[in-house]
Amino acid sequence: MLRKGYDGYLLYFIFLDIDDLKIKSLSAVLLRKLIKINDHEVVNANYEQMSKEYRDNLKNNMLKALVNEKDKSVKMKICDVIVMVAQNTYECKEKEKWDELLNYISNTLITPLNETNIIEAESALNLIKGIFSHTHLEILKGISVLIPVFRNFFKTNLLSLKTRTVETICEIMCIVDKSHTKMLKEFVNSILETTFQCLQNGKEEVNV
């Protein structure tokens, strides 16, 4: 049986081999539910009880899981867990930061897009969308870097990537002030075009 406690652990390194995507996927969904912030909460009760070391370990493990995962569906579910961890992190009374997450996002997005890192780019967009309301001040510092990235993504013929870009821009536009909205104005046509493509290609939209 599992023993109790968020504190007082030692670290050991061993190997396990759990490669079943369905199990990984279910694990991510259940983990997200366990740390989900309910309507009456500011921070999830389970997260609140964790020690700083435990939280840091959870964050590191989730980022490792994200980096190592190759399957798109599992990767996106890991993103959902990370977003939930991040929301707890930013809302907890200690007002913690998670610089490694922001570094991961920015490093992923500034890496030139090629056939092998499309899923990474999509996961980074997914993360921005999920955490933007909590970290907009920090993310907006890099808006001049983000805009060429979005421009580049819209130039591709990857509907899934373009759809995520639209979602991310829409999330940003919902929160930022007028001056930043103006900077994103150039994407209006691309957003409309992508929306139209999604309507034309229902199947791909479902897969996003």
Binding site: L2, G5, L26, L31, N61, V81
Partner: protein, 58 residues
């Protein structure tokens, strides 16, 4: 926490995914019981997700 704990969580998850009603219900009961130790469960789920390497001993 031990590798056995992580393996048992992975096994429960695997059984939750089984089409057989009895196996699934039994696994769901076990998962409910595991929630008596949320920190351990969160840790094990994280490990199952990563596939993976470092183990915490409480």
């Amino acid at each position: 926490m031990s590798t056995e704990d992580i393996k048992s969580v992975a096994e429960v998850l695997n059984n939750i995914l089984q089409p057989d009603n009895n196996i699934r219900k039994e696994a769901e009961k076990k998962f409910e019981m595991m929630q008596s130790n949320i920190p351990g469960l969160i840790f094990c789920l994280g490990k199952v997700m990563t596939g993976t390497y470092c183990i915490l001993y409480f």
